[in-house]
Symmetry: C2
Subunit: 246 residues, 2 copies
């Protein structure tokens, strides 16, 4: 069986990250330049698929996993977030040793902007400074039902450790806590299930209230299109460097 | 590692099934009699918890897994269904060998009415004869978006095999197919994730449209209370037999 710590490193290593411009050595290429250079490498079908994905994409909903030790759970939440079109993804490393389980991301991680953090406070402060309300899924006295969260605002949903949930630090600095309905005997859901319920609900609610969950500005659409072209074309970086004569 | 086939047998063996009356040998006990005999064995807190669960319980939404080979996935769907208060659960065995994965049900299976089937047609016909519309989650040409399913009607949601989805037989005899939103690059969700999204949505929609997802008749409440008492009290069957002097 694969080493769990290595599995987590591999997952994070293969993840995408926010793209702003491409440093081709001889000069820096703008997103528009990247797009014109790489477009001939892509089939019409692929270009249409990327356009369709961009139309449903948003930076307004972020998924955050904190101290999750099972790499399969991190993969599962990534696959859910990518599938629903939520671009920002944050991984706050925990102290516990990782465990590995074989659940596939279907490569979801490479299409997300994944940011790693060593501890929760810096992550929450960064999200709040970008205008996100930080909502931690946790059964606290002040927790509100999920369906009372206003997802027309930029919202980051935090999913905590499999055994202990979110850390005390996270509970303290998050803006609010929310709970999922659980009228049955079981007291909690598995993290990949909780994330599926929460993020799917957020998507449906955004479609209902906003007409679409997708919300990219023209500028973000161009930037992310360039990024998706780079992630789609084999040896894109060589092609871009060659195009500027580096 | 545990034998997967044995793990599936153990899961089904430990599952609850529909209770109508208790055969105590000397005579058959009605649900009311079962309740009066067992109530003194339960703490007030436990009795209140069971009442709360009954208030959120319904027979109007059924979960069906067809040909699912990973026992962990069956467990995960059971835990989700129990947590949301959906009592009927159907397992249609597949041909493929089982795989085992360690995901806990938290004992969810014992609170459900689990019915096993060898093949899909008998299961679907039984559900339809009870007034259920059978909705299979599958990407077919006629599939409608999940949010167009009318969950104020008795509805059974079918989740198919991990690799191949629902069987052709199932697709043919189900009343309709539905799809989850997937505006991203990944083409499908893991079965436990798909079930979480679907069943949580059904619960939320029922609360929105009906005021509550729970919908037991007085008679079903009494019957299920007796059943939950039996499932809660250690050696309940000995106690019941002793009470009628058997």
């Amino acid at each position: 069986m694969e080493d769990p710590r290595q599995a987590m490193e591999d997952l994070l290593e293969s993840s995408g990250s926010r793209f702003d411009a491409f440093d081709a050595g001889a000069r820096v290429l703008s997103p528009d330049e990247v797009i014109s250079i790489l477009a001939p490498q892509l089939s019409d079908e692929r270009i249409e698929r990327i356009d369709a994905v961009l139309a449903g994409r948003t930076y307004q909903v972020a998924a955050v996993v904190e101290g999750v030790i099972n790499t399969g759970n991190v993969s599962a939440v990534m696959r859910t977030a990518e599938g629903l079109g939520f671009q920002p993804f944050h991984v706050i490393r925990g102290d516990a040793p990782y465990k590995h389980s074989v659940r596939t991301t279907q490569g979801a991680q490479k299409w997300l902007d994944v940011t790693e953090w060593e501890e929760p406070v810096a992550c929450v402060q960064s999200l709040q400074s970008q205008g996100f309300q930080v909502v931690v899924t946790a059964l606290t006295d002040q927790a509100i039902p999920l369906d009372q969260v206003d997802v027309t605002r930029p919202t980051a949903f935090v999913f905590g450790n499999e055994q202990h949930g979110a850390s005390d630090q996270m509970l303290e600095c998050a803006d609010m806590a929310c709970v999922l309905p659980s009228p049955g005997f079981i007291q909690s859901y598995n993290i990949s299930v909780a994330a599926a319920m929460t993020l799917h609900w957020a998507h449906s609610k955004r479609v209902e209230l906003l007409g679409s969950s997708g919300s990219l500005s023209a500028e973000d659409t161009t930037r992310l299109r360039a990024d998706f072209y780079i992630r789609s074309v084999r040896r894109a970086e060589d092609i871009l460097r060659k195009a500027v004569g580096d």
